[in-house]
Amino acid sequence: MVKFLKTNKAVIILQGRYAGRKGVIVKSFDDGTRDRPYGHCLVAGLKKYPSKVIKRDSAKKTAKKSRVKCFIKLVNYQHLMPTRYTLDVDLKDVVTADSLSSKDKKVTACKETKARLEERFKTGKNRWFFTKLRPPKLIAVQDPIDYLLLLSYHMLSCTGKACILSSASSDEI
């Protein structure tokens, strides 16, 4: 009975081009709008996750590896998997409903979210958000975090998007 599809909730996109990507709800429209008469929300997510940064990397390499690419999208609630995580990054002023109206507004909004998400990644907080959703190796799940991964992975594989996830990891043949 608690509303959980609120701003700053971390979600996983289930359908579309960005299926399997993690995002954060910036603004939710529970009752829909004239154009979209269903519950949907504005999601800012990671199009490209940052790579793994190791201790041996030089400063230049770290900077290169910590880059992210963002997307902003209006997504139907049905195409999201909500998680128990939140990401309190203030994106409300940057990402607005009208920033999707024209291409250059979208680009500037994406650039600003990219900057904010990158600085959040560099602080080392919210590590779950910045890791790719990997297919779990073991079926026996104890950890609640893995439980969600298993769930999301299976849901994505049901819709046929597992190929995107498996191509990312090279050790699966």
């Binding site: 009975m1 608690v2 509303k3 959980f4 529970d30 519950g39 909500p82 128990r84 439980y147 849901m155």
Partner: protein, 112 residues
């Protein structure tokens, strides 16, 4: 033996309460509407049949955990749950939105 008898009694009482909800309250049947009711925080109690596919069961439980709504695992399969609802079709999961005259929401989530 005693435990089996006890579950039979509570099982019947759940059926009675469910019948009362069907008559006097508001409910939705089916996976899609159950998730919808959880998303817009209208659902008050979720009942899942025992042959619900485990992935779907986990998903509903996860949503219910986020929404802080009780989930009851019905002691019967979807055919039995459909019959308990007075319907001639199978019901895998249902969401009670308004209990009406029934006290199902207060008494049932204790046993999960």
């Amino acid at each position: 033996m005693v435990a089996a008898k006890k579950t039979k009694k509570t099982h019947e009482s759940i059926n009675n309460r469910l019948a009362l909800v069907m008559k006097s309250g508001k409910y939705t049947l089916g996976y899609k509407t159950v998730l919808k009711s959880l998303r817009n925080s209208k659902g008050k109690l979720i009942i899942i049949s025992n042959n619900c596919p485990p992935l779907r069961k986990s998903e509903i439980e996860y949503y219910a955990m986020l929404a802080k709504v009780g989930v009851h695992h019905y002691n019967g399969n979807n055919v039995d749950l459909g019959t308990a609802c007075g319907k001639y079709f199978r019901v895998c999961c249902l969401s009670i939105i308004d209990a009406g005259d029934s006290d199902i929401i207060k008494t049932v989530p204790g046993d999960h």
